[in-house]
């Protein structure tokens, strides 16, 4: 079993049209990474986030537009509430709510991918492997 934490990024295509460089930066930082382009962050449901943590990810990161710049008006704001709802589940289970994260990026504006990848990598390393995830085992293991 790999000891590298895995980060799954759900990226609104308006906020971050190209996810390849971010995935490369995360892999360069010693993580496993996968990005899922989303037509809009409003399409992301709480069960998507929880399933990713249950079967694949140590950390899930949503990239969304600012609340007032969402393609679907209230989509980004409502996503924030659903993410908080999913975090409540994690608190109830006894997992760190920080395993679910949200960063808002303004569409069309340059993104500091190095800084974003560093934030994600620092969070994932601090949290370590997700003991609730399939294949990780019940005990928390520290990444190498």
């Amino acid at each position: 079993m790999s000891k590298k934490p895995e980060v799954v990024v759900l990226a609104c295509q308006q906020a971050l049209p190209e996810t390849g460089p971010l995935v490369e930066a995360l892999e360069g930082a010693g993580l496993r990474a996968r990005a899922v382009p989303e037509p809009c962050s409003s399409k992301i449901e709480a069960f998507h986030l929880l399933r990713l943590l249950a079967v694949e990810a140590d950390c899930v990161w949503v990239l969304a537009c600012p609340e007032d710049a969402c393609l679907l008006r209230e989509g980004s704001r409502r996503l924030g509430k659903r993410l908080e709802h999913a975090r409540e589940y994690l608190r109830e289970i006894g997992l760190e709510p920080e395993r679910l994260n949200l960063t808002r990026l303004s569409p069309g504006e340059p993104v500091d991918l190095t800084r974003l990848a560093t934030d994600m990598a620092d969070t994932a390393r601090t949290l370590g492997l997700n003991p609730g995830c399939r294949g990780r085992g019940p005990k928390k293991e520290q990444p190498q």
Binding site: E45, A46, F47, L50, R51, L53, A54, V55, A86, Y89, E92, I93, G94, L95, P131, G132, C133, R134, R136, P138
Partner: protein, 228 residues
């Protein structure tokens, strides 16, 4: 519709302790509308339970299904099929749905994931209000379509109590409500006034037949014309 809320995860886990193969069954009508037991909530609960069981050192196989109505037996055929091999079923339906499913699965324990709360309406996004007690002797025709049994804190039938103030029920003084609970009888008065039917409040109503409600034992409706 029937409004329900999810039980704490620990309680659900405790009910199914020892089972290694679970089926989670949602209901896509009432409890989906109140965001407690539809297919999305089945997905949330399944993922959360998987993680919770792993944290306690158990690997549990969890399958998911959801049907339009668990309270109608014809809809349950799909759930019965999906339950094959399951050691326990967790139903996210209301109490009626849980019992209908249990009747269809005599050899498999069926547990509720929700606490069934009341018959109500979606008043606003994320806000559900009780507005029917199922009393069996509806008096909405006299009260402008506003039910004093369910919406008055004291279920008064003859006008407001002395505690209402500023259009609000006195229960707001005892407990924090957001939004505050209005006085149902003021609402009834305003509604009938707007309809020009205030004289309805002067009609003498016969005593309410409480035997049609919970006081009369298990209730049933029998329609001979619909019987086989």
């Amino acid at each position: 519709m029937i409004v329900g809320t999810r039980k704490p995860l620990a309680e659900i886990q405790g009910m199914v302790r020892g089972a290694r193969r679970l089926l989670l069954a949602g209901c896509d009508t009432c409890v989906a509308e109140c965001v407690a037991g539809g297919r999305k909530e089945v997905g949330e609960l399944a993922a959360a339970l998987m993680m919770a069981f792993r944290l306690s050192g158990q690997e549990v196989e969890i399958r998911e299904t959801s049907v339009d109505r668990q309270c109608i037996h014809e809809f349950l055929l799909e759930v019965v099929e999906a339950a094959a091999g399951a050691e326990a079923v967790i139903s996210l339906a209301c109490g009626a749905g849980v019992q209908a499913l249990a009747a269809r699965l005599p050899e498999t324990p069926v547990f509720p994931a929700l606490n069934t709360q009341f018959i109500g309406e979606t008043a606003e996004r994320g806000l559900w209000l009780e507005n029917c007690r199922g009393c069996g002797d509806c008096m909405l025709g006299l009260t402008g379509g506003i039910c004093p049994i369910s919406r008055c804190a004291k279920s008064l039938l003859n006008g407001p109590c002395g505690g209402a103030a500023g259009g609000l029920c006195e229960i707001n003084k005892a407990k924090k409500f957001d939004p505050e609970v209005p006085c149902a009888w003021l609402q009834i008065y305003d509604r009938l006034s707007a309809l020009g039917q205030l004289e309805r409040l002067l009609e003498l109503a016969p005593p309410k037949d409480w035997s049609q409600g919970e006081a009369g034992g298990p209730r049933r409706v029998l329609r001979p014309d619909q019987r086989p």
